[in-house]
């Protein structure tokens, strides 16, 4: 029988960064964090990136990064103060009574060890199971988290699993020690809506069936609305608001919470405009892309994709992970050549260079820049082939582009590591604008950002689209982003376009079976702009 009724209480937790050299307490990162997670409670901790959510979770496990120390307060698990506990006691608690579920599951597995080897560690340490017994239990766990073929899954190495499967495997590892309390740190932020819902339902089932307490860290307000009992809002290392979920979402007390909620609520009616009557600017005709040897046409990333983008239109491309969205983006820009079919550009005559008239905004801003180059050097690169520009003209263009994306020119002399994700994503857009594109492809351009930053970037894209009459393709797994931004929606399933419709019609009445699954997995916000706690989803 599992330990039922684990209770986690934090009182006045303070974490500081030791100043270099002296070891004297330096910058305060968490101050006075007090919270309690009751047995069987689903407690959400929300806040924008850098507000200290992950730090709070890592403090509970006493696994802070080097240089950070708990300098005050207490962390009590069933009456035992973890802040003072000796290391050997902590080792039996970590992964045992207190489990942790990480974001980015693939990076949290040792790439050279199988899922079985990972699962057996907590089974040996916390349940005392070895050999055949451990294997049986491991198979059970994998089946429980939704592996269709646990025998195959157990032999897999982490890189052989898809993102969703890896997160399920990580969940199985976290549950293997039969924790009474689970710290779930954005466990679904890298997943699409369908997978997210499966993982959260799994956690919710554990909560109901055996009283697992869950501290759910997220910046995804919609999932909070659906699952959380209570919500804590964190900002700059402190908890600024705490209330039952229904109350906090409908009657927020602080400005920060209101801001956070407003950002998450991408109201659909913000864009109601007549469908574009202009001519097509980009026409894809039966585009296919196969990877691997030509003879084996079994693995097709794209299959007979026919799409047309109208001038000045925003077209959304929706699809789950692995549906071929990124391959499509690369094929359109020319980073991948299509195996079959054609992609025709019908640009305006004013286009300075045809090759650069279609630009791509990448998903992960931190990997879209060379970490060793200053932003200025990175932004100068695309202008280098334009020999007709004098150095002064180039600088002027870069300055203008920075202004257009509302970035401080002083950032130009910083390196990517010194910038936030939002700043870098603006710089990526600025870089794309330098070449005066007519079509901009945004491949999950905001999915790595927190809700507040996401909203500002989306609004920036909308403004640029209006001012420059750009044509936009917004590729996303996020229904809210697509609904907020797009005039029309195309749905991609296993490399094929299964539905193209105007946004309004699509969300009102999706035609294809897969579209219906996507629309119902996304938790709708009400048209009047108020939050609703959807009891139907919860049970």
């Amino acid at each position: 029988m599992s330990p039922v009724g684990t209770r986690l209480v934090l009182e006045g937790l303070e974490v500081r960064q030791a100043s270099a050299g002296t070891g004297a307490p330096g910058k305060r990162l968490l101050s006075g964090v007090s919270l309690s997670v009751e047995p069987g409670e689903f407690l959400a901790l929300v806040g924008s990136s850098g507000s200290g959510k992950t730090l709070t979770a890592m403090s509970c496990l006493r696994l802070l990064p080097p240089g950070l120390h708990i300098t005050g307060g207490s962390i009590t698990l069933d009456g035992q103060d973890l802040a003072q506990a000796p290391e050997h006691q902590l080792n039996s608690i970590r992964g045992g009574r207190l489990g942790m579920l990480f974001q980015q599951p693939k990076r949290m597995f040792n790439p050279n060890r199988t899922i079985e080897q990972h699962l057996k560690e907590p089974l040996r340490l916390h349940a005392g199971l070895r050999g055949a017994k451990a294997r049986t239990k491991a198979l059970e766990l994998l089946e429980e988290v939704g592996f269709a073929d646990p025998g195959k899954g157990i032999r897999a190495y982490p890189h052989q699993l898809s993102g969703g499967m890896a997160q399920r495997a990580m969940t199985a590892v976290a549950l293997a020690g039969q924790p009474g309390m689970l710290l779930a740190d954005e466990p679904t932020s890298a997943l699409d809506k369908v997978l997210e819902r499966q993982i959260l339902q799994l956690l919710d089932r554990e909560r109901r069936e055996r009283g697992l307490g869950i501290l759910y860290i997220t910046h995804n307000i919609a999932s909070v609305a659906a699952y959380a009992d209570r919500v804590l809002v964190m900002n700059s290392g402190s908890i600024v608001e705490a209330a039952p979920a229904g109350e906090l979402l409908t009657r927020p007390k602080t400005d920060y919470t209101r801001q956070l909620l407003a950002a998450a609520r991408l109201a659909p009616e913000s864009r109601r405009r007549p469908p574009s009557r202009e001519r097509d600017i980009l026409v894809l005709d039966r585009v296919g892309k196969h990877f691997g040897p030509r003879r084996k046409l079994g693995h097709a990333a794209l299959h007979d994709v026919s799409l047309a983008l109208r001038r000045g239109e925003i077209l959304g491309v929706l699809g789950q992970s692995g549906s071929g969205k990124s391959t499509l983006a690369k094929a359109i820009v020319g980073l991948e050549t299509a195996s079959t079919g054609s992609i025709a550009r019908q640009l305006d005559a004013a286009a300075p260079r045809e090759a650069t008239a279609v630009q791509l905004v990448f998903q992960e801003p931190h990997s879209a820049f060379d970490p060793r180059m200053t932003l200025r050097t990175s932004l100068q690169a695309p202008l280098r082939p334009h020999r007709e520009l004098s150095p002064e003209e180039r600088d002027a263009r870069i300055a203008a582009a920075m202004q257009e994306v509302e970035l401080d020119p002083s950032l130009l002399d910083k390196r990517p590591g010194q910038c936030s994700g939002g700043q870098l994503q603006r710089a990526t857009i600025a870089r794309a604008l330098l070449l005066e594109p007519q079509v901009l492809i945004c491949d999950e351009a905001t999915s790595a950002l927190d809700a507040l930053t996401q909203r500002t970037i989306l609004n920036l894209l909308l403004r640029l689209q209006r001012e420059r009459n750009l044509s936009l393709i917004v590729i996303s797994h996020d229904m809210d982003v697509v609904r907020y931004m797009c005039d029309r929606v195309a749905v991609l399933l296993e490399g094929q376009v299964v539905e193209v419709a105007e946004t309004k019609d699509f969300f009102a009445a999706p035609q294809h079976e897969h579209s219906r699954a996507l629309v119902s997995a996304s938790i709708p916000c009400r048209a009047d702009g108020q939050w609703t706690v959807l009891e139907a989803v919860k049970t």
């Binding site: 970590r94 992964g95 990480f102 980015q104 040792n110 050279n112 560690e121 340490l125 032999r155 190495y157």
Partner: protein, 313 residues
Amino acid sequence: MLQFITKRTVTLVAAVVVSSFAVFLIPYFTPGDPVRKIIRSRVAGDAIDDSAVQGLSESLGLHDPLAVQYFRWLADFFSGDMGLSFVSRTPVAEQVLPALSVTLSLVLMSLGLAAALSLPLGILSGLRPGTAADRAITAVTQALIAMPEYWVAPLLVLVFALKLSILPTAGWNDLSSAVLPALTLALRPISFFTSAVRAGIIDAAAADHVPAARARGLRQGQAVLRHVVPNGLVPLSTLFAVWFAGLLGGSVIVEVIFAVPGMGRLMFDAVVNSDIPLAQGGVVVVVALAVGVTTLADFVHQFLSRTVGGTLA
């Protein structure tokens, strides 16, 4: 995995065949007529009868097309007939094989010594980068790169053989005579292995999955033993093979200084004496061995690091 092995094996055979063809062509690019050299190596006296040259060319099949000659040579070679040495007039194989076994033992001892020293040193400094121990280890091992063998060897002889008289100065008789050559040859590998292990461990320790392992309840030591050290050592298998191949051909200085009757010295003498069959035999054997070991290391690396290739099994 099977596809990878097949591919690599084909590459290996191709590399050996191509290099053996180059070696086969050596006599055609060296000054002097090989037939006359053969006759001169077998009979005393300066005057060589033209009819004897014609006769020998005929009997050796030198009028056949080049391709035919090459494949005949290759077939003979791998059936153990590497020809006769110009100098000693004995079969080349009888000289190459004993020398090869000497060099192999010397190289394996050096690499064993290098691994035995650099694994603990590299792991130690990689786990605690920036500490005094790390800085001392790095400084010493880096300094080893700058010490040439022809300088280190006499120095070691001076200390251990002449002053302390605990080891012989040269020769190849028992284990004690192997210590100084093996140590001299091991210095640079020690340096490279240590810095490779250190870098590998630092990388592996910074991986996100290490705190994740601690969060499963593993003690710091267990996490290091299971998730840091094995991952940090993966790149070493390739480096090891590269050095093995490099030392097979690179042991010549040490073998000459310490009078070790190995491949390096044999090749050195063969070149000095223009003993073409001996040089050809030696080079092909060393190349085949070097390519074979490198390929084997690729297999090992592939096996150790699951992410290099291969998708869902």
